[in-house]
């Protein structure tokens, strides 16, 4: 095809989604460090003779060689995975932990939605996503807390993090009691729109701690504050995304509180 050069390029990436293609192939959606979100075909990986299959399962951090034009896809069709090495297959760590598996799914879907344009690099989003999967696998914090921290910071990268320590409307600093998703977060008594929520102060403290990565405060949060925080974060996220996330309502939060 004129103007199209097929070449090999290499990058490390997180596997976000894996879909079946034809008889034995897969389409892999990746969030790469230097090339942004990519979609590439992995040939024959569903055959039991493939060595690649296990490395291209969801949530893994992998080192890849891809064949395709790294600068565009005009007339080039889908890129193909030509080599893949595992750096850390985080997906394996979620297999025996259903709540963490569902949290990982929500992280992956959010990463995809926060990178709407293919091949537009965002190293911040890549590092945040990789860090979240690593934290989820390490099991040092509750899965739902890791997820909510990821969603809050991801919204920050996208430019629509909720206001927490100032009024979303007038900017007055301080902890405000009301929270309005349409207004953009916490709101002062003067700016508070009708229908605002009134979360517990501990809930806003938790949201601030998760945004700042203050795990001492976050880990100590009570179940009630965690639940309310998850609800506000989800509502804020859904408000800003055109379509709702499919995986977020399926996140299993039942055992997330008992398991650390």
């Amino acid at each position: 095809m004129p103007g199209y050069r097929r070449q090999l390029y290499r990058d490390d990436a997180v596997v976000l989604r894996v879909q079946k293609l034809g008889e034995s192939d897969r389409i892999i959606t990746l969030l790469s460090r230097r090339h942004g979100r990519l979609r590439a075909v992995a040939r024959g990986v569903r055959r039991t003779t493939s060595r690649f299959g296990a490395r291209l399962e969801p949530f893994g951090h992998v080192d890849l060689q891809i064949a395709g034009d790294p600068n565009g896809n005009i007339g080039g069709g889908l890129h193909t995975v030509s080599q893949v090495e595992a750096i850390q297959l985080y997906g394996k760590r979620f297999l025996d932990d259903y709540p963490r598996y569902t949290a990982a799914c929500a992280i992956a879907e959010t990463a995809e939605r926060l990178s709407p344009i293919e091949r537009e690099p965002s190293q911040r989003l890549f590092l945040l996503t990789l860090g979240a999967l690593r934290a989820l696998a390490a099991r040092e914090h509750a899965g739902t807390l890791v997820l909510d921290a990821y969603l809050l910071r991801g919204m920050g990268i996208a430019g629509w993090a909720p206001a927490l320590a100032e009024c979303a409307v007038c900017g007055t600093r301080g902890l405000h009691k009301a929270f309005s998703v349409p207004a953009g977060g916490a709101v002062c008594p003067d700016c508070r729109p009708p229908g605002s929520a009134h979360p517990a102060p501990a809930t806003l403290d938790l949201m601030i701690a998760l945004s700042a990565g203050d795990w001492t405060v976050a880990d100590a949060a009570e179940p009630g504050a965690r639940r309310e925080c998850s609800g506000l974060v989800a509502a804020h996220l859904q408000w800003h995304l055109e379509r709702g996330l499919r995986s977020l309502p399926l996140v299993d939060r039942t055992t997330g509180e008992e398991q650390k």
């Binding site: 989604r17 690649f52 499919r246």
Partner: protein
Amino acid sequence: MYEGAIQDLIDELGRLPGVGPKSAQRIAFHILSADPADVTRLATVLNRVKDQVRFCTTCFNVAESEQCRICRDPRRTNEFLCVVEEPKDVVAIERTGEFRGRYHVLGGAINPLEGIGPDNLRVRELMARLGSGEVKELILATDPNTEGEATATYVALLVKPMGIDVTRLASGLPVGGDLEYADEITLGRAFEGRRAV
């Protein structure tokens, strides 16, 4: 773009899984040039599959009557129940000749990214079947990939408090593969060497 019926056929074929626009066109022109008797036979089975094939009311395998062949077979035991994702997995396991129990077809695997949760699968129906107390061992034979493993973990979590042994096919099945592609020997070994979860 072609005119009328041939384009309609290309469009319909193109909606099938794994068929791209080029393949759709190739198949459509193959049908156009094929023997009329062959085409009639294809059309007949296409109609028949929708009319006559339904899902077994017990295990949700494909069946041509209320119950499938395996559920009707009196020589098979209810003590072992094997959970699979799709009817094609029943066929793969039957080929090994290792299994004399019965099946439960979930209708897929839990896949939150595609919006598929436990309520979209036949999990509730499985729990109802286990309530009868006849099943001694539940064998989880979902695909050896992330969605299949997560589904097995979820089902095991529900079933274990009922006091039923829950087992998973042994390793040897490569991760990331489809169960249906495992050869009979590998799948048979995986069955023999299943482990408790």
